[in-house]
Symmetry: C2
Subunit: 340 residues, 2 copies
């Protein structure tokens, strides 16, 4: 006797490639993601010939819990990959979606995650064009690991290269930092206080498109996910051999995010974001970029947070509200495990 | 105090995106996979503009055990994705590699898997162009989940479409079936008998390229992985509304594979392969295809195993060695869990 499904939980047989797999996909998953590339349900998707160089990226998502204020693993998986393409100056052409599901996962939860994937993909204007589904034995109850990959087409006339960064160039961020990591940590710790803190997870390709369309000479874009804003800035000092001065008072940070970080004993600069982008450009282009960003829903709080300076050894310094200076280091290991 | 690495096991901090992640990647992983696209170590890779339509695919690999006779999860992850591109008629342009590593995994084993990935990629003539690494808490000891995605460029003049299949068209396979699934099952069950059985995991893009280069009018290609040869043939009866007659005596199957399947009580036709391709073409093209296949190391035992016939309802029938007839169904659920 084959194992029988009870219709509300995933069983090993859902991952076996047989009739149950086919039904799970055709009844519960594919209809939510429907598009011309995915619908043939082949093991691969055929996309139109790109008009330029292509860009490829992948991310594995292991966030715990699967759902948190403002998002879930499905939304993250779409946004993370779309954003990696966008910060490379690419327009997304298609995403792949690989689900590794733990036996026992509620099918209702799975469907909610697929709905969330579909919604985030619509927001980004990109299709899930191909996928794979596997089931693993019941374990700790983490439930679901999602890996997305993305292919995009590089925009013409964009030249993103940290080697082009010079002293005096400014660092812009599109809004309040640390909200994703804090929202996940709060959900995980079951923090009892009432908080409006929600993850910022969002697809940034629209905002970045608007910024690049201004013709501003953007030299570098990066989404500050794991390692936070600090991680990106430390990387940049190594790539450019320039120092970075960050004005703490200028860094967008909501009072609720600041209070939550304080309570958890965490530095907001090192906390993961999933809807933020660091933009580096000549100071003369800053106004143009800020104006474009602030017109977009995801860029209303855009601000210049710091600049590159010639100072050796290259390091990141935070000029604090009190007027002091504090050096920022790369996080050594993991302060917030499984945040994305 | 941050958690300290002991240099021989993965710890959570290896996945945190900080200094330890950077060292794991730069010292243990990237050097083995080195190529011009991957080396910039950005979150994405830029590939040349393709000369035609592109093809995208993804697969998640959860095989247990991670190593088995003739292969391992790393080799599978490369071959599976390369083969999905190849059977779509595409030439691979680049692969992405996402590693989800369980805390406690031996770093030596991880390095062996990355070596295996590098070797399989060289065999296939394709680069790992981008990747991601995450660490999850210690659990059952499964250790490693790998998700690969691939992008390829469609070959000109190839028209793979099951709608083109007609009665009389022949079904060809490039060699002995069932060896991957049986090798994994034997390793898992710790079968005590001495067996030469090894997984057939191999990249098929070279063989398929040789076959398509003959100019034969190939109508359909598919790698019979989960669900085995039976799964592919049942799919084809549904797609074509034709029946399939398979000549059991013509199906390549080594004595050791047959004996192992008998002992495990499994039907070789339903067992996963990772280095086999089902080819459908007009009978008049069969000799051309067999000749090309047999010149390639992966096609030495290529054979016509059956043909399409007009018979309703559409079904797959096996004409047995004894001259009897047996209907082949799609496996209902999972006979061999976590085989790939």
């Amino acid at each position: 006797m084959p194992e029988q499904p009870n219709n509300d939980q995933i069983i090993m047989a859902h991952g076996g490639g047989g009739e149950l797999t086919r039904r799970l996909l055709s009844e519960r998953i594919i209809p939510k993601l429907s598009n011309e590339f995915l619908n043939p349900l082949s093991d691969s998707a055929v996309l139109p010939r790109p008009g330029g160089k292509i860009c490829m990226t992948t991310d594995a998502f292991v966030v715990v819990p699967l759902e948190f204020p403002g998002g879930d693993i499905g939304r993250l998986a779409v946004c993370g990959t779309v954003n990696d393409l966008a910060v490379a100056g690419a327009v997304p052409l298609g995403l792949s979606l690989a689900l590794v599901i733990e036996e026992g996962l509620s099918i209702e939860l799975l469907e909610r995650m697929v709905d969330s994937i579909a919604l985030a993909a619509r927001e980004a204007g990109v299709d899930i064009v191909t996928g794979d589904t596997k089931v693993i034995e019941r374990r700790g109850g983490d439930g679901l690991i999602i890996t997305t990959a993305g292919v995009g087409q590089l925009r013409d006339g964009v030249n993103l290269n940290p080697a082009r960064i010079g002293a005096g160039d400014v660092i812009i961020v599109n809004g309040g930092i640390a909200e994703h990591g804090l929202a996940v940590m709060s959900a995980r710790e079951g923090l009892a206080f009432d908080t409006d803190l929600v993850s910022d997870a969002a697809p940034l390709n629209g905002l970045i498109g608007e910024i690049l369309d201004t013709g501003a000479d953007v030299k570098f874009l990066r989404d500050p996910t794991r390692g936070g804003v600090s991680g990106v800035l430390v990387d940049l000092t190594e790539d450019t051999q320039l120092s970075v001065e960050v004005d703490e008072a200028a860094v967008p940070l909501t009072p609720v995010a600041r209070n939550t970080a304080d309570m958890l004993g965490l530095d907001p600069m090192t906390i993961a974001n999933e809807g933020k982008v660091i933009i580096v450009a000549a100071e003369s282009d800053a106004e143009k970029i800020l104006t474009a960003a602030r017109k977009h829903p995801l860029g209303k709080s855009a601000a210049v947070i710091g600049k590159f300076v010639s100072a050796t050894p290259p390091l990141v310094e935070l000029v604090t509200r009190a007027g002091g200076r504090r050096m920022i280091n790369r996080p050594y290991g993991e302060e917030l495990p499984r945040i994305c």
